[in-house]
C-alpha cells in the first residue's frame, strides 16, 4: 500500500480500480462524534455499548459480513484502544474469518467529525474502488451487494454519481424515526436522484427552490424517509471531502454536492429499502427503539437467539419474545412478561416484574422490583422494591432498596444510589463529579455547588449536565424527550392551530390584531404596510426619519387621509407587541413592559405626526378605539398616556379636550374613561398648581 501513496490521482491508479473492484470494501466509522450517550460514553466507546447484550459494533460487522463484504476498515477515534483490543480478541481477527478487518485509529483531537475521518482515510489512500460507508452504530439486514451493483450500473449512464445513500421508509410517528434526524428529501421519482435534502427537526416551514421544479417536471417530496447511515460511495467521495474542509457531516456533504451540482456535475442517488431492516442508534430513544426491533425480530437474522459471537452464549427464546442466556435464575412468582432479554448468570428475585426490558449478565435483582422499558447492563445490583420505568442503567450500578428511577433517566457506570431515593424524570447521573474546564470558571458558584455535590449523602452519583453547545439546545431537548409520553397528536394539534393562525395571517392579517379596522380596503392595506414597516423598523432599529418617509410613501400609495394616518400609525404601534410575539395582550403589567421600548423607539415618528392639536386628538381617539377592541389593553392605557405626555408627544390641552368630549363608543365610558380618570385629575391638579404659581 505504501507505494500507492505517491499516486493519489485517480487516472494513474486506473488498473488498480479494476483489481479492487473484486474485493468488496467497507469503511465502518466507529464513532458518532456526538455526546448523545454521555455520561456513559465517557469511559467506553459507543461502538462497544451493549445492545441487547451484545456490543453494538458486532451488529454492524455482522451486517457487513451478511451482505458479502470482504474487507472492512474500522475507523476508531474515541477510546480507540478499547475497540482495537476488543476486535483483537474477537472472531473477526481470526484467520478463518470470512471478512478481514483492519483497524485504523486516530486521536480525538485530530478527528472531530465524519468529514475529518474521511479526509484522514483519503490521506492514507487505502481505497480505490467503490466502497460501503457505514456507521458502527447501525443495525441492518440489508443485502448491500445488489445496491452496490445498482450503483455501478448507474455509473455507466451517469458519470457524475458520487453516492447512493440508503433510506428506509417509515412514516411520521413510527418509533424508528429519530426525532433528531428528521429529514425531507426531494427526489426525482424516475431515476431516484436526490434533488434536495433538508434536516427539518427545528423547522416549521420547508422551502424548496423553484428552480428544482422547473428542471424536473416530476418531483417527489418525502418526509417518510429515515437515514440509515449506510451509503455506497464512489471513490471520488474521499477527495471531495479533502477538497472541502467545511464538510463535517454527511448533511454538509450532500448540501455541498447539490449546490455545486451544476459546476462539478456530481450527483447523489437514493435507494429506498423494501422489506429489509436498517436503523441507526443515534441517541438514547433510538437505542430504545432499535433494541425493541431486535427483540421483536425485525432485524432477523440479527436476533439474540442467533448470536454468533463465541464470547457470549446464545439466548434461548421462549414465548412472548422472552430471551434467556444460560444460568438465569428466576425466583418464584417473578414474571418476565414480554419482550425481555436476560443475560448470563443473572438472578431475579421474588415477585419481580420485568417487561419490555433488557437485563445484562451477572446482575442481581431483588424482590418486588418493577422493571419496565429499561435497559440494564452488566453487573448491576438492584435491591428490593425498586421501581424502574424507561431508563438506561449502565454497568456496575447499585440501586439500594426502594430506589425509584424516573422516566428517561440515564444512570452512568458505577453509580450507587442510597435507599429510598427518587430520581426525577430525565436525569443523567454519573459516578464522579463532573470535570470542570478551567475556561469556564465564570459560571455561578451556586451552580458549581449543585453539580459537585452528590445526589444524596450516601450515594455515589452526580448529576451530569450536558455542555450547552451552540445552536443545539433544541436538539438536546428532543433527545431528552425519551420515555415521556409525547402525545403526537397534541403536538400536531398545536401545529394545526398554528397553521390555522398562519392561514389567517396570510389572508386577513388584520384579524389577528384588532377588529376596529376601517372597512375601506385601502386603509386596510395601508395599515398592514405600516405595521410591517414598524415591525421591521423596530427589529432592525431603523431611524425614525426613514420610517416616516416609508409611511408617507405608503400614505400616497393607498391614498389615505391624514387623520387615518395618525390613527392607524398609533394603532399599529399599539398592536406591535402582540403581532411580534403572536400573543394577545394578557392584561398584566407585561403588556406595558413590552410596549414601552417600542414607543420609546418610535418617539421621533410620533412627534412627526402629532404636531398639532387635531392630530393629537386623532391619536387619542385611536387609542381609545384600540382599547375598546382590546379589553386587555385598557389597563395599560393610563401608562401609555402618561408616557406620551411625559415625552411631550401629547399636550395637556389635547388630553383634557379629548377627555371632555364624549367617546365615540359609549362602552368606553365605563372602561377607558374610568381608568384614565386618576391621570386626568392629576393633570388638572397640576395645571391648577402651575396656574396658581404663575398667579
Amino acid at each position: 500500500m505504501s507505494s500507492n501513496k505517491t499516486s493519489k490521482s485517480m487516472s494513474k491508479s486506473g488498473s488498480e480500480i479494476v483489481k479492487q473492484e473484486d474485493v468488496t470494501l467497507a469503511v465502518l466509522i466507529a464513532d458518532s462524534f456526538s455526546i448523545r450517550f454521555a455520561p456513559v460514553t465517557e469511559s467506553k466507546p459507543k461502538a462497544l455499548l451493549p445492545l441487547v447484550n451484545r456490543p453494538m459494533i458486532e451488529y454492524s460487522l455482522e451486517s457487513l459480513l451478511l451482505s458479502g463484504v470482504q474487507k472492512t476498515f474500522v475507523y476508531c477515534v474515541a477510546h480507540a484502544d478499547q475497540i482495537r483490543q476488543y476486535l483483537k480478541e474477537s472472531k473477526w481477527m481470526r484467520s478463518v474469518s470470512p471478512m478481514s478487518i483492519e483497524v485504523i485509529s486516530q486521536s480525538p483531537d485530530d478527528c472531530r467529525s465524519l468529514g475529518d475521518s474521511l479526509r484522514d482515510i483519503d490521506g492514507k489512500s487505502l481505497i480505490r474502488g467503490d466502497f460501503i460507508l457505514m456507521s458502527a452504530d447501525v443495525v441492518s439486514n440489508v443485502q448491500l451487494i445488489p445496491i452496490l451493483e445498482e450503483h455501478r450500473e448507474k455509473k455507466k449512464t451517469d458519470k457524475g454519481i458520487v453516492m447512493t445513500h440508503i433510506f428506509k421508509r417509515s412514516f411520521p410517528g413510527h418509533r424508528s424515526r429519530s426525532a433528531e434526524e428528521e429529514l425531507v428529501l426531494a427526489i426525482n421519482p424516475t431515476n431516484g436522484r436526490i434533488l434536495n435534502y433538508q434536516q427539518t427537526t427545528n423547522l416549521k416551514k420547508l422551502s424548496f427552490p423553484l428552480e428544482m421544479f422547473k428542471e424536473n417536471s416530476l418531483v417527489d417530496l418525502h418526509y417518510d424517509f429515515v437515514d440509515t447511515h449506510i451509503s455506497i460511495c464512489s471513490p471520488v467521495v474521499l477527495p471531495l471531502f479533502s477538497d472541502n474542509f467545511d464538510y463535517q457531516t454527511w448533511g454538509d456533504f450532500v448540501r455541498g454536492i447539490l449546490i455545486n451540482e451544476e459546476i462539478l456535475n456530481n450527483t447523489i442517488y437514493c435507494h429506498v429499502l423494501e422489506g429489509s431492516y436498517a436503523a441507526h442508534v443515534s441517541n438514547v430513544p433510538m437505542y430504545d427503539a432499535v433494541s425493541k426491533d431486535i427483540i421483536q425480530r425485525w432485524a432477523f437474522p440479527l436476533v439474540p437467539d442467533l448470536n454468533r459471537s463465541d464470547k457470549t452464549p446464545r439466548h434461548t427464546l421462549s414465548r412472548h419474545n422472552v430471551y434467556k442466556q444460560p444460568g438465569v435464575t428466576l425466583a418464584k412468582e417473578s414474571v418476565l412478561e414480554r419482550d425481555v432479554a436476560v443475560g448470563e448468570d443473572t438472578k431475579i428475585g421474588e415477585r419481580t416484574f420485568v417487561s419490555q426490558s433488557v437485563i445484562g449478565s451477572r446482575c442481581t435483582i431483588g424482590n418486588d422490583v418493577h422493571i419496565n422499558n429499561a435497559y440494564i447492563w452488566d453487573d448491576v445490583e438492584i435491591k428490593n422494591k425498586c421501581r424502574i420505568e424507561v431508563a438506561l442503567i449502565a454497568d456496575g450500578v447499585v440501586l439500594n432498596e426502594g430506589v425509584e428511577i424516573g422516566r428517561g433517566c440515564v444512570i452512568g457506570p458505577g453509580v450507587i444510589l442510597a435507599a429510598g431515593i427518587k430520581i426525577p424524570d430525565n436525569t443523567r447521573l454519573m459516578a464522579h463529579p463532573p470535570k470542570r474546564d478551567n475556561d469556564f470558571e465564570t459560571s455561578d458558584e451556586e451552580d458549581d455547588k449543585v453539580a459537585t455535590t452528590p445526589v444524596s449523602a450516601d450515594s455515589v452519583a452526580y448529576v451530569y449536565h450536558r455542555p450547552i453547545e451552540e445552536d443545539s439546545d433544541a436538539e438536546s431537548l428532543i433527545d431528552e424527550l425519551w420515555g415521556l409520553d409525547i402525545d403526537e397528536d397534541s403536538e400536531s394539534d398545536e401545529d394545526d392551530e398554528d397553521e390555522a393562525a398562519d392561514d389567517e395571517d396570510e389572508e386577513h392579517e388584520e384579524e389577528l390584531d384588532v377588529g376596529d379596522l376601517p372597512e375601506d380596503l385601502n386603509a386596510r392595506s395601508f395599515y398592514n404596510e405600516v405595521l410591517e414597516s414598524l415591525q421591521r423598523g423596530y427589529e432592525e432599529k431603523i431611524k425614525g426619519d426613514n420610517l416616516v418617509l416609508e409611511i408617507n410613501s405608503s400614505k400616497y400609495a393607498y391614498n389615505v387621509t391624514m387623520k387615518e394616518v395618525n390613527m392607524l400609525v398609533i394603532k399599529a404601534m399599539l398592536s406591535l407587541p402582540s403581532v411580534m410575539t403572536k400573543k394577545a395582550a394578557t392584561g398584566t403589567n407585561d403588556d406595558w413592559i413590552a410596549l414601552r421600548p417600542i414607543l420609546q423607539h418610535f418617539l421621533s415618528v410620533l412627534r412627526n405626526y402629532l404636531k398639532n392639536n387635531q392630530s393629537m386628538l386623532d391619536s387619542l381617539e385611536a387609542l381609545e378605539e384600540f382599547g375598546v377592541h382590546n379589553p386587555h389593553f385598557v389597563k395599560s392605557i393610563c401608562k401609555v398616556l402618561h408616557f406620551l405626555y411625559g415625552e411631550d408627544v401629547l399636550s395637556e390641552d389635547a388630553i383634557l379636550e379629548w377627555y371632555a368630549n364624549p367617546p365615540n363608543d359609549p362602552s368606553a365610558l365605563k372602561t377607558i374613561r374610568k381608568t384614565v380618570e386618576p391621570f386626568i385629575t392629576w393633570l388638572e391638579e397640576a395645571e391648577e398648581e402651575s396656574s396658581e404659581e404663575s398667579d
Partner: protein, 456 residues
C-alpha cells in the same frame, strides 16, 4: 339529479384579443364548430340533460341556437351577465347561486377534452370530496409550434400540483407565476402538512383543465364570501389550504341554542368555512364503524380526519386542451381534426369531393368553393368560402365567408370571417381580418382594419 353542470362562457379571451374583439371566445370556431359546442357535446356524452350557461347578454341568442343547429338535445339555461362587465368565475357562480341545488360541475367553455367524466364523478362521490379538479398528463406539447401574429414570448402557465402519493388528495396547488412574482423563487410547505402527507408528488407539467366538481356547501361558501372572484386563482388554493384546518368541535350546536345574537349577524360577518360544512351523519357513523382507511402509516382516521378535502383526478390518457391562448387555439384546431373520428365517432364530417388537392387532416365547409389546382394541407376552412386557382394553404384556420384569390400562398395563418385575400399574396403566420391587397407579403403580422386597431 346528482350533479348540475355550469359552463363559464363569459370569458373574453384576453390572451387572444386579435381574434376576440368582435365575438366572444366561446363562439370562436374550432373545426368549424363554435367552441362551446364541444362543452355541450362533452356534457351530453356524460349524460347531462340540461346545463346552466353563463354568458354576456349580447351573445345570448347566438348561443341559444347552437344545440338545435348541431342536433344536440341538451337544454340550456342561459344566465346572462350585463354587457361589458367582467365577472370572475367565482362571481358568476355567486350570480347563479339560487339555481344551484346540488353539487356542481363547473367547466370553462374553452375546454376540449375526451376524458370520460364518470371517473371524475366516481372519485368525487367515493371520497365525498369538497372539490375535485381534473388534471391531464397528456397535454400535447404546444410551445414548439409557430403562432400567428406578432412574435411574442409565449409562456405556458405552469402550476405546481402537489399530490399525495397514496391517495388522490390535492395537497397544494400554486401557480409558478405566483411564486416567481413574489421574488421568492421557492416553494414553502409547512412541516405539519408533510406530517399528514409524508409523500408528496409534485408535478409541474400537468394541465389544469379548469373543470371542477364542487360540493354544494362550497358553492354556498363562495356565494357568501364576496372576496372571491376566481375559482382557479382564489377559491381552489384557499380550499386546498383549508383542508388542514381542524374543525371546531361541534361549535354550531353549542352556540346556536343559547345564542341571543341575531341570526343576521351570524350571516353577515365572515362566517368560518367550517360552519358551511354539511356533515352527513350517516356517513360519519359508517366511517367510524368501518376499518377502511385511505392511507397507511399513521394512526389517523380516514382522510386524516379532515373535513375539507380536495381531490385531483389526473387523467393519464385521453385528449385535453384548453383554448386559452392563441397558440393553444391553433393547436386545438390541428389536434381535434386529427382525432375527430375517435373523439366524436357519432359526429360525421364529410370532406367535399373536388378537383383540388386536399390533404389529410383538413376540414372544409360544405358550401365552400374550391377552384382547380389549389392545394390544402393541415387546414380548416369554414363555410361559404371561395378559394381561387393555384392557391396553396398550409396549416391555416380559415373562418366563414372568406375569399382567397388565385395564386396566393397562405401558411400558418388565421383568416377571420369575411376577410379577403387578393391574388398573389404570400402570408405567413398572419392574422387577417379584412382585405389584403394583391401581391402583399407579410410574416407575423396582424392585418385588421385600421379603425379596429384604433379601438385596441
Amino acid at each position: 339529479m346528482e350533479y348540475q353542470a355550469v359552463i363559464m362562457a363569459a370569458g373574453r379571451g384576453s390572451r387572444m384579443t386579435d381574434l376576440t374583439h368582435d365575438r366572444p371566445k366561446c363562439l370562436l370556431p374550432i373545426c368549424n364548430r363554435p367552441m362551446i359546442w364541444f362543452s355541450f357535446k362533452m356534457l351530453e356524452n356524460a349524460g347531462f340533460e340540461d346545463v346552466i350557461v353563463i354568458i354576456h347578454e349580447q351573445f345570448r341568442n347566438e348561443v341559444a341556437v347552437i344545440p338545435s343547429k348541431y342536433g344536440l338535445n341538451i337544454k340550456l339555461d342561459l344566465s346572462c351577465l350585463p354587457k361589458n362587465e367582467d365577472f370572475g368565475t367565482a362571481d358568476s357562480l355567486r350570480l347563479i347561486k339560487d339555481k344551484i341545488k346540488t353539487d356542481v360541475l363547473v367547466i370553462s367553455c374553452d375546454l376540449v377534452c375526451d376524458i370520460p367524466l364518470h371517473n371524475l364523478f366516481d372519485l368525487h362521490r367515493t371520497h365525498q370530496s369538497s372539490v375535485t379538479a381534473l388534471f391531464s398528463q397528456t397535454s400535447p406539447d404546444v410551445i414548439s409550434t409557430a403562432v400567428p401574429g406578432p412574435k411574442t414570448k409565449f409562456k405556458q402557465e405552469r402550476d405546481l400540483v402537489g399530490l399525495d402519493l397514496q391517495t388522490p388528495r390535492l395537497v397544494f396547488l400554486v401557480s409558478e407565476a405566483d411564486l416567481t412574482s413574489e421574488n421568492e423563487e421557492e416553494l414553502s410547505i409547512r412541516k405539519s402538512v408533510m406530517k399528514h402527507f409524508p409523500q408528496i408528488n409534485v408535478q409541474g407539467n400537468l394541465l389544469d383543465a379548469h373543470l371542477y366538481v364542487i360540493k354544494k356547501w362550497v358553492c354556498d361558501y363562495i356565494a357568501e364570501n364576496r372576496s372571491f372572484t376566481m375559482l382557479k386563482g382564489e377559491v381552489l388554493p384557499h380550499l386546498v389550504r383549508k383542508q388542514f384546518i381542524k374543525a371546531p368541535m361541534k361549535k354550531n350546536e353549542i352556540e346556536l341554542p343559547n345564542a341571543d345574537v341575531s341570526v343576521v349577524s351570524l350571516n353577515t360577518t365572515n362566517r368560518d368555512i367550517c360552519s358551511f360544512l354539511v356533515n352527513v351523519e350517516e356517513e360519519e357513523r359508517i366511517r367510524n364503524y368501518s376499518v377502511w382507511n385511505d392511507h397507511r402509516g399513521d394512526l389517523r382516521g380516514p382522510y386524516q380526519d379532515h373535513n375539507i378535502r380536495c381531490f385531483a383526478y389526473v387523467a393519464k390518457e385521453g385528449f385535453c386542451l384548453r383554448a386559452n391562448s392563441l397558440s393553444n387555439y391553433c393547436e386545438l384546431n390541428r389536434q381535434v381534426i386529427k382525432r375527430w373520428s375517435t373523439m366524436f365517432p357519432d359526429e360525421e364530417i364529410t370532406l367535399p369531393v373536388s378537383k383540388a388537392q386536399v390533404g389529410t387532416d383538413c376540414l372544409i365547409g360544405e358550401t365552400t368553393q374550391l377552384s382547380d389546382k389549389c392545394s390544402i394541407k393541415h387546414s380548416i376552412i369554414g363555410q361559404c368560402c371561395n378559394i381561387g386557382e393555384k392557391v396553396r394553404i398550409t396549416n391555416c384556420i380559415i373562418m366563414d365567408n372568406v375569399t382567397i384569390m388565385k395564386e396566393t400562398i397562405l401558411q400558418g395563418s388565421i383568416l377571420m370571417d369575411n376577410s379577403v385575400v387578393e391574388k398573389s399574396c404570400d402570408l405567413k403566420d398572419c392574422i387577417v381580418g379584412h382585405t389584403v391587397h394583391s401581391n402583399c407579403k407579410s410574416t407575423n403580422e396582424v392585418l385588421v382594419d385600421a379603425d379596429r386597431l384604433l379601438e385596441i
